[in-house]
Symmetry: C2
Subunit: 307 residues, 2 copies
């Protein structure tokens, strides 16, 4: 799947992943009204509104970008109906030949971590049948529990030719609280990054490993160090746009081939219609506004990060 991701990035010339984080406040009113009219002010109604929103975005951007990244928390809060919308979103993105990165930040140990890996990347055995529960292509994984937590994901990745992005240095202001603490004069995120490179060594695609890393756009200096520490790991870069990261900040995350990183934007794309710049599209034109925002982000990255 890492090979497919790289191929699609080359074809679209856009190392961009669209974050499908359908915060209720982002969903255009007409979609919510329509869903409520049909299903009432219920969890099912919200699930329908969420999926209609995602479908609109996916239809508008699927020829421009290689991947989408649904953030499962935004679906999980609506319970089973929300998770049904998550699954429908994964399936619909696959129909449109998009790579799907499940932003699930799971992590446990042993058979429990394996159950998460099976849930999101693998297939579960039921009697003589096998089922894929959520079926993403990549998943984000939390490393705090060490190799016991990550290795079961790697096992499933090898079986299914799928991949993970391990949290190394996250984009948020307080990420330094633990991640930046010095261990033998080096910050924890470097120790984790080094381990990511090790984990990735024996599950290589053509050019990059199945094991990638998450490093926030908001920390470009750290991105530079981590890029060098994990030469074969793809970096998933959140924090562009709404969180403060700019195109020029992204340079250090890419390697000498202009590859090796994929930049996420969620709000900046899916809620573009709420920005003054795209206000003329109106809420009804949310999908066109999203398309326009992708085109502009793509230009920003080409001109300021990859030039």
């Amino acid at each position: 799947m890492i090979n497919k991701l790289v191929d699609k990035i080359k074809k679209t010339n856009a190392p961009i992943v669209v974050g499908l984080d359908p915060m209720p406040a982002y969903i255009p009113e007409h979609l919510v009204k329509k869903a409520f009219a049909e299903y009432g002010e219920t969890l099912q109604g919200m699930g329908e509104a969420v999926f209609a929103y995602n479908k609109g975005i996916i239809d508008a951007v699927s020829d421009l970008v290689p991947a989408v990244k649904p953030q499962i928390a935004m679906y999980e809060q609506f319970g089973l109906e929300g998770l049904k919308a998550f699954k429908k979103t994964v399936d619909y993105a696959h129909e449109k030949d998009l790579v799907v990165i499940g932003d699930i930040k799971r992590g446990d140990i042993g058979s429990t971590s394996e159950a998460y890996a099976v849930a999101h990347l693998g297939k579960v055995t039921v009697g003589s049948n096998r089922f894929a529960a959520f079926d993403e292509d990549f998943a984000t994984v939390n490393p705090y529990l060490g190799s016991d937590g990550v290795n079961p994901f790697i096992k499933v990745c090898k079986e299914e030719k799928k991949g993970i992005f391990v949290l190394v240095k996250t984009s948020n202001p307080s990420s330094g609280e633990f991640q930046d603490r010095l261990i033998d004069h080096r910050p924890l995120y470097e120790i984790v990054g080094e381990q990511v490179a090790k984990w990735g060594q024996d599950c290589m695609g053509d050019s990059y490993s199945y094991v990638g890393a998450v490093v926030g756009a908001t920390y470009p200096e750290m991105g530079k160090v981590l890029r060098a520490l994990m030469p074969k790991s793809f970096i998933l870069v959140p924090g562009y746009g709404a969180q403060g990261g700019k195109g020029s900040d992204l340079k250090p995350f890419f390697d000498q081939n202009g590859l090796g990183a994929i930049v996420n934007s969620s709000r900046g794309i899916i809620a573009a219609y709420k920005q003054e710049k795209y206000a003329s599209y109106g809420a009804e034109g949310f999908a066109d506004a999203a398309r326009e925002a992708v085109i502009e982000m793509s230009r920003d990255i080409r001109e300021n990060a990859l030039a």
Copy 2:
């Protein structure tokens, strides 16, 4: 909810939480057969088998213990049907007046962490209605992303009078890979533990904070240090039994009042019928075997940890 947990521990005289981790290999064959006969070898069939198993265990132990801890990964692997069984398990445990600790190990940032908190401990707003998606009483939380990840949980805990257990030192062999690394001559888990104590300061129940910690039974020396560092935090202690922790290892996790800790056992109780010691119960008697294993664990803790 921390007050209810403490009260129930005092009443049952058993600081024990039964881990409802229904690994397919643990589920007695007759329950699987029955569910498959009715629903086929499907995800729905597995969901039914899982719930029947949990219901048997809950019925057998609900008068002996204060709490159960379903491990969501074991349900998530069966997709929506698995998560339906999770929700039914939470609701059934509540009917039996048990405290429910959702072992979800979630953690993200800002509005995303808040969505997880809402999903598991709070209520989500849909139009003019409010719904509880999964409705546990406590949740386990991963601290790697720092305060930005934990504070949204605390906000919801305050609103709902619920609680969290933050991963500090986990029970697995490789937990030291990052958690034991020295920062200013102190291991990372102590830094995290100190932060847990801080997070917990302004959301106190009668005697303990809404913010607890996870510390593995397999590391009693570290438990002693952490007990002192987080005097007001309840400690959820995994790793007893199958993972190697013994009753005598548990002493350091309790405070001078013989409280402040709750010990989890999963396999050792729910799959007790597979142990030689309880083999006479047979698979059909899995629930009675579980009850017997709880009684023995309770005795072990009273005699070797609390005496």
